[in-house]
Symmetry: C2
Subunit: 203 residues, 2 copies
């Protein structure tokens, strides 16, 4: 029954358990994007997913348990980093990816709901932090290779550069409400590259 | 009855209406910091404030109405900017102020709850954005005076510099969960100053 270890049985990848998880997480994502964290419950998610309520309660327990599993699934299936050959190109690609995600009609409200859930629940917060840890680790080699090329100081902290690139987009999205547009993404990439070259992220 | 215009009457500043507002907003802030946006209701706030339930329902209507008024009050009473004589000094002062706020035992959870409330309610979101607009406008002269001194390019967008300084602190606080410490604040100030000097915030 353990999908993670690849043990044989009914829960093999692509099997019924995996299909149920996919349907439930898809329905939960739709509901979260529609109504936010305060507007959904497990019974509604089960109905939307066409899965038995008992299955959903037994496997996920609470809305926050569902949020945590959704973030785990997003981390597992997250896209690989860009490799354009320059730090500026890689940072611009990441800024565009974040911009596209936060301004997407489904993903934007979904991320807002996931982050709001993390504000009030430690389990959701831990899952959110793990998701961003995976994303930051995925993109950090853009900085490591830039340092190897001599583009930025050798002691530059790769994770800190990736966080610095992401931050202005999330700040507008969650905090100040200022518009998110391609100029915002370009400016985030250019500012982060300039600060990195100046040694601001050396640890 | 209009406190904002200073018209005489029972609602003069320091009068009963002002005292009720202060008590209710203080109680609402305590409850939000304790329990988050999902954990409070108007009846509980009225009880904590020792104010009649009817008064609270009539004046604020909903928890989100209360959140909006709390943010309006925070904007009205917000502290003036630093004026250290250098851009680096002013940005370091702002970074320290944000760090102190977000890591404060009461203010940290309160800001998290206010931002989470804004994720699911347009009225709370509008109030949140107005609050940050006031704060950004208050600190923007640090950049205008730096440009006048020739420290940064003349066409630098002051608001964008203030947002860039704030963003890495809020990103850790709300999104990635990485630690917020004095080094984070120092790095935000140094990186923003370097990027501003390089012309990254020229519009």
């Amino acid at each position: 029954m353990n999908q993670a270890t690849g043990a044989p049985g009914t829960a093999r990848p692509g099997g019924r358990t995996a299909r149920v998880r996919e349907a439930v997480l898809r329905a939960a994502g739709d509901a979260l994007a529609d109504k936010g964290i305060g507007g959904i419950d497990l019974a509604e998610v089960a109905r939307r997913a066409d899965v038995g309520k008992t299955t959903v309660y037994r496997r996920w327990g609470t809305v926050h348990g569902l949020v945590a599993d959704m973030l785990a699934e997003m981390a597992e299936s997250s896209q690989p980093r860009a490799d354009t050959g320059t730090l500026d190109g890689d940072l611009a690609a990441l800024a565009d990816l974040i911009l596209d995600t936060l301004t997407d009609a489904r993903q934007g409200p979904l991320f807002k709901a996931l982050i709001a859930a993390a504000a009030s629940d430690p389990e959701a917060a831990a899952a959110l932090h793990r998701f961003y840890r995976v994303r930051i680790d995925e993109w950090s080699p853009c900085v490591t290779t830039a340092a190897a090329r001599g583009d930025v100081p050798a002691a530059t902290d790769p994770a800190e550069v990736i966080r610095a690139l992401s931050a202005p987009l999330y700040y507008r999205f969650l905090v100040s409400g200022d518009p998110l547009d391609p100029d915002t993404a370009k400016r985030a990439a250019a500012a982060t590259a300039a600060a990195a070259r100046s040694g601001a992220y050396v640890v």
